[in-house]
Amino acid sequence: MPPGLNNLRHIVVLMMENRSFDHMLGGLTATHPKIDGITPGLSNPDTSPAQNRVPAQPLADFQGQLEPDPDHHFPAVDLQIFGGDTSPNRVASMQGFVKSYFNQRRDLKHSQKIMYYFPPEKLPVLTTLATEFAVFNRWFASIPGPTICNRAFAHYGTSFGRVDMNLLYVNEPFKSIYNRLISARPKRTAKLYYYDTTSSTMEITNLLQHQPELFGTYPQFLSDCRKGTLPDYSFVEPNYNDHDTDSGEEIANDQHPDHDVQAGELYIASVYNAIKQNPDLWQSTALLIVYDEHGGIYDHVVPPACTPDKFTASANATGTGMPFAFDRLGVRVPAILVSPWIPKGTVVDRVFDHASIPATITKFFLGDYSPRSPRETSADIFIEAKTATVDPARNLLSLDKIRTDCPDFDV
């Protein structure tokens, strides 16, 4: 058994908001060619009669640029992926991002900003983590739609047929990953950490209002890291809104446009630091940093088909006039796995989506389990189970000795 897996006791997932892979990590391709990001020639047509090509450019700014918030609901994402083609045998082209953003403000020049990406030096935290640990070239949102449904895949392995932001009731015997763990014999432990009660959680309807005991706050996460009392599985949410508290201002750090991206960098760094500063925790924890969806922002990789879920969203529900069988993934998002057992510069090309999260946690802590959604049972896992034989080609925690050269962040 590889020592990295043998030592692994805790898995932490931090899910940020609404930024695409190319937007955040695409600039790394120039210096790290195995990372599938921005290359010369990537562009989208604008809405002028000549349909001028708008190239992807390293001009993204931390705040104030993507106003209004780029549309990331199902119909808009359909336009972004298929470029406006609604024919039965249409082929995805990733050519509709500028058109989609133009629809919101009818400003030709402004619509080009959807193609902007960050030069790596502007994002020291994400850039460092992506190049020091494992970056996923093919982690996609679970559906080509908005936040609530995509986060549902991370909690339940399905969105129960929903593609919108409306109330989402669990109506099938698919338990949340948290309930699977705490109901197991022997019992496992799990917690969702929201930033504070003013930010709260996005998983209200099924979890917060029925089981608030599953939740903790970010200060509790920090304390649990210090004390070494982190549960087996932790899901960490960022701060979703700017607000004042008795102890000062709390700036939104989820990176959802138009919240400041630097605030999110600080938050990611502080989660990393909290784990790393406890040596026992650092050597026994894997941290996944992932984004829930692309936020309407450009990415060049066509989302692949996938095993259909057992649900279908009607033509009315999708808003496109076409039903959706949950047989196609959403747009690519940044995803990085951090552990001192991962070789520096690891790049993973296998396909993942957010259903991979409950799939991985279940396999690692519980082994075989049912019932689960078809999407989850077919999703790839990002951490191998602790079995007698581990496939070395799949195991990311592959080092024989723990690294001593991992960076620290000065926050």
């Binding site: 908001e17 930010s199 209200i204 917060l208 809104n241 600080l266 962040f409 000065d410």
Partner: protein, 134 residues
């Protein structure tokens, strides 16, 4: 070991008066659905359609989240009390609707008045039996 400096955002990046985005709007709607299942006394009486800014949204979200936590805490406390095994489900759920001091004292006053009334009625009855006036 490399130490990477992480710049802080400028103070101007923070704006509680920023208009509510679609995500916060959806979160508030989900919160409202949960809020309406709370005992009336614990509901916020905030009209979420009038919420326009992130600061206002955060305040609403905080109040509902804390109310949910308090309701569950109250029920858990009641469940843990000695002799609570005999209590029915309705009683435990009602524990979430802890009475305010004012309502407690009104309830106590009503109970006292009821006891006084029934004592008076008993005295009248026995006086009627014994031919004595109350």
């Amino acid at each position: 070991m490399t130490l990477i400096h992480v710049p802080r955002p400028p103070k101007s990046a923070m704006d509680p008066n920023r208009p509510v985005n679609a995500l916060l709007r959806a979160q508030m709607e989900h919160m409202q659905d949960a809020e309406l299942k709370l005992p009336v006394r614990q509901q916020t009486n905030i009209y979420i359609n009038a919420i326009k800014t992130e600061g206002e949204a955060g305040e609403y979200i905080r109040r509902v989240t804390e109310a949910i936590n308090q309701a569950h805490d109250a029920a858990a406390r009641k469940r843990g009390r000695p002799g609570s095994k005999k209590r029915g489900v309705i009683d435990i759920a009602a524990a979430a609707d802890d009475k305010s001091p004012k309502r407690r004292s009104r309830a106590a006053a009503r109970k006292k008045a009821k006891t006084k009334l029934s004592k008076k009625a008993k005295t009248k009855k026995s006086a009627a039996k014994g031919g004595r006036k109350a």
